[in-house]
Amino acid sequence: MKNKFDHEIALAIIHKVGARPEMLVQILHAIVKEFTYVNESAIRLIAKEINLTRAEVHGVVSFYHDFRTHPAGKRIIKICQSEACQAMGSRELTSHAEKTLGIELHETSENAEHTLEPVYCLGNCAHSPAVMINDKVYGKVDKEKFNQLVKSE
C-alpha cells in the first residue's frame, strides 16, 4: 500500500538495495518509489541499518530534489522549467496547470489526486514543452493536451 510507511517493507528495501553507506541515494530512491516520500521513521531506520547518523541521512534527503518528505498524490506531474521548454511556453503551461489543478508547484491536491513539481530538463527538448507523469514523458504539451492528460491515464 503506497503512502503508508511500513517498517518491514522499508527494512526489506534497504537490504535488497544494499545496506551500505554508498547505497544511500539508491536506497532513498527505492523508498520514494514504494511510499512516494521519505518520512522521519524511514530516516531513522535507514540511519540505523547503514550505520550513519540521522543528521547524515537527513542531509542527503534534503539535498536532492527527488526525495520529497511529504506523501505525493496519485499522479505526480512534473513540468519542465528549463530554457528549451521556456522557449515554447512552459511558463504559461505551468500557470495553466496550477490554475487547473488548484495547486502550486511542490504541492499536492487535497484529494491526493495530483502532485505538481518542477523538473529541470527531461531530455525531450525537441518536443518542448515536456511533461512527465509518473515516469512517462509527454512532448509538445499545450493546454488542451495537458487537460486530457490529467483527466485520462
Binding site: 551500505r20 553507506p21 554508498e22 547505497m23 544511500l24 541515494v25 539508491q26 532513498l28 530512491h29 542531509g59 542527503v60 539535498f63 536532492y64 530534489h65 527527488d66 526525495f67 528549463s82 530554457e83 528549451a84 521548454c85 521556456q86 522557449a87 515554447m88 511558463r91 523538473v119 529541470y120 530538463c121 527531461l122 531530455g123 525531450n124 527538448c125 525537441a126 518536443h127 518542448s128 515536456a130 512527465m132 515516469d135 512517462k136 514523458v137 509527454y138 512532448g139 509538445k140
Partner: protein
C-alpha cells in the same frame, strides 16, 4: 528476402514515445492482424530526427522507407495508401538515409542510432559493434590510449578536456583499485545526445567503458544516470545483462584475462551532480557537494581511487576510434576541436533534433539548414548554446564557427552541444533572472559566491527591471557577476554569470523597467 514478413521499424526512445510511438505500434499491429498482413515490428532507437517523430520505417526491397511524424490517426490512412509497399503518402519522407537532415550529417558516434534494435546485442555486433574492443584485446594494453591521442578527442560533457591525457593519468597512477565513472547526468537544458545514445545504441557506451577499464587497469565501472531518464535505465540494464551473458562483460572477458563489470547508479535530480566531483560524492551515496581540486579525480576519485570520469558521448565515441583508428577521427573538425560533435537543436525551432557534424560549422548554418528557422515563424532573437550556463548569442554572433576556442573568444561555450533557439517573444531579463534563480536552486552550497551570489543576483535583476536605483544596481550586478566568476569553486557559480552578462550586453532594452516579467 528470407521470409515475406514486412519489417516495420517503430522507434522506442523517450522522445518518440512522448509523441505516441507506442500507440502507433499497437495500432499498426492490430490493423495488420485484421487485414492478415504478415509484418514484423522492430522497435529501434531514434535517428535523432526529432521533428519527424514518431518516424516509422518500412523495409521494402532492403531499403528503409520513412514516414513521419505518424500519429495514431494516420495509421489507417497509411495502410490504405499502401505504406507496406513503400507507396507515397503525405507523411512519406523517402528513403531514410536520403533524408537531407540525416544525409548531410557526419555520423560517427551516432551512426548506429536508429539503425539498430537497442535491445539486441546481435544487432549491435552485426553492425560493427565490439570491433574496437576486439582490436584492443589483440594489441598492447596501450593501444587504446595511443589511438585516443591520435584522435584528439576531447571530453564531450562540456569541459572539453583531452580524453587521452585523462586516461593516461589514471593508467600511470599506481593503485590496487581503479574505477571508470560514466557521467550520464545530462542536466543541461536543450541537451539530449546522451539520452539518445543510451536509448538507441547502449552497447556502444558499454563497449567504450570496457575499453576504458582495460586501458587503465580498472575492473569496475559505474554509470551515474539521472533519474529523469527512466527509459534509458531500462535499456542500459538490459544491455549490461546481455553483455554479461555472452562474456563481453564480467570475468575474463572473451578469454582475455581482463575483468570488467558495470553498475548503474541513479542520481537524485540535482543539476550540480553533473559536475564531476559532485557526481563522485553522489556515487558514494552522499550529498552532491563538490570537492576541491586538486586532487584530480584521475588521481583520487571515487572512494579515493584513481577514476576516469567521462561523459556518455565521450565514452561512446571510443569504440569506433579504436576500430577505425584515431587518425580517421581527427580528419574531422578544425583547429584543436577534432572530430564530430552531436549538436542538439531545440527550443523554438522548426526541425529540432540531433545533428552530428564535424566542428567548424557555424551556428547560423545549423539553425537555418537543419533547424529551418523558428517553429513560430518569427525571427530568431537569441540562441543559448551549451546549456543553462552558456551565453545567449544575438543574431550578430550567429556566424561564429562551432569550435571550442572560437566560442570562448566570444565569451560563449559549446559545452555539451545544446542549441536552444528563442524567437522575439522572449524577454531576456527574464532569462537572465532565471539563470540566477536556477543557480540558487541547484547550488550545492559549498562556496559563498555561488550559494549567496545567485540569490542576490535574482534580487538585483528584479530591482533593475523595476527601476530601483537602476545605475547602481547595474554596477552591482556586474560586480556580482565578476565575483561569482572569479570566486566560485566550480562551473555552477563560475559560469552562471555568462548567460546573465550576455543578456545584459546584447539585449539591454529588455532590462528597461517593464511589467512583463512574467513573460
Amino acid at each position: 528476402m528470407k521470409n515475406n514478413k514486412t519489417k516495420i521499424f517503430i522507434p522506442m526512445d523517450t522522445a518518440a514515445m512522448s509523441m505516441g510511438s507506442n500507440d502507433v505500434a499497437e495500432k499498426i499491429k492490430s490493423i495488420a492482424e485484421n487485414q492478415n498482413k504478415n509484418i514484423e515490428i522492430i522497435r529501434n532507437g531514434s535517428w535523432g530526427m526529432s521533428w519527424l517523430e514518431p518516424l516509422i520505417e518500412v523495409c521494402v526491397d532492403d531499403e528503409r522507407i520513412a514516414y513521419g511524424p505518424v500519429t495514431v490517426d494516420d495509421v489507417e490512412d497509411l495502410f490504405k495508401s499502401g505504406f507496406l509497399r513503400g507507396e507515397k503518402h503525405q507523411l512519406f519522407q523517402g528513403k531514410t538515409e536520403e533524408i537531407p537532415y540525416l544525409k548531410n550529417q557526419q555520423r560517427w558516434t551516432f551512426r548506429k542510432c536508429g539503425l539498430i534494435d537497442p535491445f539486441s546485442l546481435d544487432n549491435y555486433i552485426s553492425s560493427g559493434g565490439y570491433t574496437g574492443l576486439s582490436k584492443l584485446l589483440n594489441a598492447d594494453q596501450s593501444y587504446g590510449i595511443e589511438q585516443l591521442e591520435k584522435s584528439g578527442l576531447r571530453g564531450r560533457g562540456g569541459a572539453g578536456f583531452p580524453t587521452a591525457i585523462k586516461w593516461k593519468t589514471v593508467a600511470d597512477t599506481q593503485s590496487d583499485q581503479k574505477y571508470i565513472a560514466c557521467n550520464a547526468d545530462e542536466g543541461d537544458s536543450g541537451t539530449f545526445s546522451d539520452r539518445i545514445l543510451m536509448e538507441s545504441d547502449p552497447f556502444t557506451l558499454i563497449e567504450g567503458m570496457t575499453i576504458a577499464g582495460i586501458s587503465v587497469g580498472a575492473n569496475h565501472g559505474y554509470i551515474y544516470l539521472r533519474s529523469e531518464y527512466p527509459h534509458a535505465y531500462k535499456v542500459l540494464q538490459n544491455a549490461i545483462k546481455s553483455a554479461n551473458e555472452v562474456n563481453w562483460l564480467g570475468k575474463n572477458i572473451q578469454n582475455s584475462g581482463y575483468d570488467f563489470n558495470i553498475d548503474i547508479h541513479i542520481g537524485g535530480g540535482s543539476y550540480v551532480c553533473g559536475e564531476e566531483t559532485a557526481m563522485l560524492e553522489s556515487l558514494e551515496g552522499k550529498a552532491g557537494t563538490i570537492r576541491y581540486k586538486p586532487p584530480l579525480p584521475a588521481i583520487e576519485g571515487l572512494f579515493g581511487k584513481p577514476t576516469i570520469v567521462n561523459n556518455v558521448v565521450t565514452l561512446g565515441s571510443v569504440p569506433d576510434i579504436l576500430s577505425m583508428g584515431g587518425e580517421a577521427y581527427s580528419e574531422y573538425g578544425m583547429n584543436r576541436s577534432k572530430g564530430t560533435l552531436a549538436f542538439q537543436l531545440s527550443g523554438n525551432v522548426k526541425r529540432g533534433g540531433l545533428v552530428e557534424l564535424a566542428f567548424g560549422i557555424t551556428l547560423r548554418e545549423i539553425i537555418e539548414k537543419w533547424g529551418g528557422g523558428t517553429a513560430s515563424g518569427k525571427p530568431v532573437h537569441a540562441v543559448q548554446v551549451g546549456g543553462p550556463l552558456g551565453a545567449y548569442f544575438p543574431d550578430s554572433l550567429l556566424d561564429t564557427p562551432l569550435d571550442y576556442e572560437a566560442f570562448s573568444e566570444k565569451q560563449g561555450m559549446i559545452g555539451h552541444g545544446g542549441i536552444v533557439v528563442f524567437d522575439d517573444s522572449v524577454n531576456m531579463a527574464s532569462q537572465a533572472r532565471f539563470a540566477m534563480e536556477f543557480c540558487s536552486i541547484e547550488s550545492c552550497g559549498k562556496c559563498t559566491p555561488c550559494r549567496i551570489g545567485s540569490t542576490r543576483g535574482v534580487e538585483v535583476i528584479d530591482k533593475i527591471t523595476s527601476n530601483v536605483n537602476r545605475e547602481q544596481n547595474l554596477n552591482l550586478l556586474n560586480d556580482l557577476c565578476e565575483t561569482m566568476i572569479d570566486g566560485s569553486l566550480c562551473a555552477m557559480g563560475g559560469l552562471t554569470p555568462f548567460p546573465v552578462k550576455s543578456a545584459l550586453k546584447y539585449f539591454p532594452e529588455d532590462f528597461e523597467a517593464t511589467d512583463n516579467m512574467s513573460k
